[in-house]
Amino acid sequence: MSVGLWRAMGLVLRRDLALSLRRLDQLVQPLVFFLIVTTLFPLSLSPESSLLRQMAPGVLWVAALLAALLSMDGLFRGDAEDGTLEQLLLSGQSLGGIVIAKTFAHWLVSGAALVLISPLVATALGVPVAAFPVMMLSLGLGTLTLSWLGAIGAGLTVGLRRGSVLLSLIVLPLAMPLLIFGANATDRAIGGESATGALYFLGSLCLFTTTLAPLAATAALRITLE
């Protein structure tokens, strides 16, 4: 019996999640990085809570961006190195569907995990609890967008021996709108203002990349693998 696209995507998602859970060090590394970077700021600047609260959006977002970059390079590299990517390409399934499932799995273990621990970091930076929903929503939309951008970059650089620097150079400029609007949304939420405008913008970016990035990432993968 043939295997439908949804079932195939489910298989890829389950496999990637199982792999992440068996390599806990790789799963935890970006999260620990996020925690360390954000706790270094109060130590190096000043523990004064008004200053921290002012810096919190920027610190949170820069740390989240860099933490996301850490894990991006591995999106296709592992599969390319052990030959399983070739098997995926020859599986008779749509490569686009496989890329979507892999990127979503990547977001679940990097972005979504980061969103879940962000209240901990935010508390340490003196962010009021009332700002948590907006902060987490903006981080969620932002990290998902980042994962899509990362999929394009990872697809382009998977054929290079050391592609991670190039990957950062490709992804970081594209991620600037995220940083600006994400930090802005968080900042407004901390100040008790409405963050709707920035959130809408993040949402539209997320929607835009969700629809187009799989196409771009698939094309990039095909080009590099030939």
Binding site: L19, D82, L90, G92, L225
Partner: protein, 208 residues
């Protein structure tokens, strides 16, 4: 139906930078037939296999399956073939069974019992629940072979399948190949050594 399952490769040219790797390779492979591709290192054997799989597009020439260019319906062609590269293509952190469940599961719905049976056929039933990382190179090769078996494809494309196999493994592979050919399947094998099968083997020499 089966008579349609014919592979035709027509005048393939591939350049790698300045190097003209494949210079007009043509071949035909029908049901029940086996072709042994051989030649010195760097003769383009693996490249040819990648072209036939559709992983590499040749600068010139055609690969046809059942009369149609493979790019016309890649999904149907991919379901008909089983490719084993020189890498065993196993995830080191997954068990042998999980690896198969995933790799075969993408091509057809398959029960664990069937996968265990395939692992048993290649002599690695005891490794089913061990992570691929702890398996020896030969055992990994056998797991990859079990994948080829379990996919139930009609066209086998095997790149150096005898590497890392011990004497009994090589014998097993030859026996499985015979069974596959007897069942109307076809196989294209890249190997350095002479193939010892109970039938004459057609050979294609590259790089001469």
């Amino acid at each position: 139906m089966i008579s349609l399952e014919r592979l035709a490769v027509d005048d393939i040219h591939v350049w790698r930078g300045d190097r003209h790797v494949l210079k007009g390779v043509s071949l035909q492979l029908g049901p029940g037939e086996l072709l042994h591709v051989w030649g010195p290192n760097g003769a383009g054997k693996s490249t040819l296999l990648r072209v036939i799989c559709g992983l590499l597009r040749p600068e010139q020439g055609w690969v046809r399956w059942a009369g149609e260019p493979i790019a016309d319906d890649p999904a149907a062609y991919q379901l008909a073939l089983a490719y084993a590269s020189h890498e065993p293509a196993l995830k080191a952190d997954l068990t042998a069974l999980e690896n198969l469940r995933f790799a075969v599961g993408l091509k057809r719905r398959v029960a664990d019992t069937e996968l265990r049976a395939a692992l048993g056929q290649t002599g690695v039933a005891a490794c089913a629940d061990l992570p691929a990382r702890v398996l020896s190179a030969g055992q990994r090769r056998r797991v990859a072979l079990a994948r080829v078996l379990a996919v139930r494809a009609s066209l086998w494309l095997l790149d150096e399948p005898y590497t890392n196999l011990d004497a009994s493994g090589a014998e097993l592979l030859s026996r499985l190949l015979e069974q596959h050919l007897d069942g109307g399947g076809s196989a294209l094998i890249v190997a350095h050594q002479t193939l010892v099968l109970g039938r004459p083997v057609r050979r294609l020499e590259l790089g001469s």
